[in-house]
């Protein structure tokens, strides 16, 4: 059976989760040469409601296109974390936006206040998703920074490149740090606060 790495990006509709799913899929698929399937599910509403985007990544042909057991869950709000934490497989990891999550019913978790950092450090909440993408990329280890950068630049609107790259870089650094600490210390959780920056 092929080895799969499975990711779910979840939160409210409007947080840009489907977009970062596409960017991540382009980065690993087109720039890293891996096989990838990206799917999404959303309600009939245009905004609000639950939204999620999922990726299956492999070196071989991917048959079943949806996740079977998550290696990584990104939860951008408490509701998604509660709903999906049970789908994370043993040894899997959760990356949570601690701006909106304060209860963590999971064992391995990286807590980063993406939305707060985006607002306070970059002046725009709207790039919280790109910051989360950076962190997810670094924590997962399935994609290089340069591929991610290229994919972001292909998808974001003209004039917002610098802002988005700053957010991506910030997220990537935090994700790398969190991963290092988790591995080195054998810790179960890693909390990043805004004050650390």
């Amino acid at each position: 059976m092929e080895r799969r790495y499975e990711i779910r990006l979840s939160g409210y509709g409007g947080q840009g989760l489907i977009l970062i799913g596409i960017i991540l899929a382009e980065a690993v698929g087109l720039y890293e040469g891996k096989q990838v399937v990206q799917t999404q599910s959303y309600g009939p509403e245009a905004r609000g409601g639950a939204s999620r985007s999922e990726l299956v990544v492999s070196d071989q042909e991917i048959d079943y296109p949806k996740p079977l057991g998550l290696d990584l869950l990104l939860a951008m709000n408490q509701q998604s974390l509660n709903l999906y934490c049970g789908d994370v497989k043993e040894g899997g990891i959760v990356v949570a936006d601690s701006t909106f999550c304060d209860q963590f019913p999971v064992s391995r978790v990286v807590k980063i206040p993406f939305t707060r950092l985006a607002r306070e450090q970059l002046g725009r909440e709207i790039v919280a998703n790109i910051m989360a993408l950076g962190a997810v990329g670094a924590v997962s280890g399935i994609v290089g920074f340069e591929s991610l950068k290229k994919a972001v630049l292909n998808r974001v609107p003209k004039g917002t490149e610098d802002l988005n790259l700053k957010a991506l870089q910030m997220g990537w650094k935090l994700g790398e740090k969190a991963k290092r600490e988790l591995v080195k210390e054998g810790r179960e959780e890693y909390i990043i606060s805004a004050e650390e920056l």
């Binding site: 399937v37 799917t39 599910s41």
Partner: protein, 378 residues
């Protein structure tokens, strides 16, 4: 233009396939989960000198497609269940008047407005029998983004070759999923064009029989004048109630398809050579089934997969051959049993047909299929 690799949705790959096949006219009314087809067509068609028009509804959409095709354009529309229902009457018209066109139905949960954003395979029988009257039909399916491209090309080619509407059935999972797809250089895509008259206009008999059963088709506006109607017509296209004209017309309408089943049928087999249980699946479920076969093999179950890419005319020869050897034919579907009825009809007691039906808006999982295999084999 050289070949290029892209990450596209199944719906977007449909558009690229259509354009590669020569489609230059799209009329449609947006509906989830097919809307990306209209969106991308609106962007792509003007780039290649084609025409995109958003119509007031699905009845008008298919009517405009038929008109464009009569004028010589390769034309298509796309919709989902509710819109597909509205198109049925004119799909019959296209069949009767022998107007090539492609209709993509990205299936969502039904009946009625049902589940707009969730997958289903509920329209398989509607694609076969949705329009009234006895008629032949060609229905294709796809289970990946590259297949969306190539099955759309194939839909146009079959439609042109046999002068018949061809329906491509996708589902929400396949339509919305993104995968890598290599878009070929257009010159590497085999494109079939409708047969055209070689005689001068005054000698043209629009519905005269030919060895293939497909009469040459003249585009309107080039001097070939003829009558087009949904009424049963004589060889000149005018309504007839003479049994000696009706009979041959209907016979030819069926013959042009039925004489070519081997060319129209398309399926793929995986691990079927020694299979005791053969899963027969199509669309998104075929992917679950492929994984289920691998998982079952790891557990020592001799499992195989027949993936249907042509749904109608039904793939009788392959199913008959597999039914001879297998103990169980397992048909997982996201409906209450539509293709499984065909499998039972063809099986004729050779093997045991077991169904797995799921209609809760979620994709059948590999685990559910493996469980059913174990149960069926005892």
């Amino acid at each position: 233009m050289a070949k290029v690799e892209k990450l596209l949705q199944g719906n977007e790959a449909v558009v690229e396939g259509a354009i590669a096949a020569g489609c230059r006219f799209y009329a449609g009314y947006p509906i989830t989960p097919s809307t990306e087809i209209a969106e991308r067509m609106a962007w792509r068609l003007p780039q290649v000198g084609g025409i995109f028009i958003q119509m007031e509804d699905e009845l008008a959409s298919i009517a405009a497609v038929i008109g464009a095709s009569l004028a010589g354009a390769k034309a298509m529309t796309a919709t989902s269940g509710p819109g597909f229902s509205l198109m049925q009457e004119n799909i019959g018209f296209a069949c009767e008047a022998e107007v090539p066109c492609v209709v993509v139905d990205v299936m969502r949960g039904g009946p009625s407005t049902g589940l707009p954003t969730m997958p289903s395979q509920g329209d398989v029988m509607q694609a076969r029998w949705g329009t009234h009257g006895d008629h032949p039909v060609i229905v294709l399916s796809a289970s990946s983004v590259p297949e969306c491209f190539w099955m759309t090309v194939r839909a146009f080619n079959l439609s042109e070759k046999y002068r018949t509407p061809v329906i491509l059935l996708l589902d929400e999972v396949v339509g919305h999923m993104r995968e890598k797809v290599v878009l070929p250089d257009p010159k590497d895509v085999e494109v079939v064009d409708r047969p055209r008259p070689t005689m001068p206009p005054e000698w043209y008999i629009p519905y005269a029989d030919t060895p293939s059963g497909v009469p040459p088709m003249a585009p309107f506006g080039e001097g070939y004048r003829y009558h087009v109607t949904g009424l049963i017509h004589d060889v000149r296209g005018f309504p007839t109630s003479r049994p000696d004209e009706i009979g041959p017309f209907m016979e030819r309408l069926f013959r042009k398809i039925s004489a070519n089943f081997p060319e129209i049928h398309l399926s793929e087999e995986f691990e079927t050579s020694d299979a005791e249980v053969v899963v027969i699946a199509y669309g998104c479920v075929a992917r679950s089934a492929k994984r289920a076969v691998k998982e079952a093999r790891e557990r020592g179950i001799k499992a195989g997969l027949l993936k249907l890419l042509t749904l109608w005319p039904f793939e009788r020869p392959a199913v008959e051959r597999l039914a001879e050897k297998a103990k169980v034919l397992l048909v997982p579907e996201m409906n209450m049993g539509q293709i499984s009825r065909e499998v039972k009809r063809v099986n004729q007691g050779r093997s045991r047909v077991v169904t797995l039906n799921k209609v809760d808006g979620t994709l059948i999982t590999p685990g559910e299929i493996v469980e059913k295999m174990e149960e069926a084999l005892g």
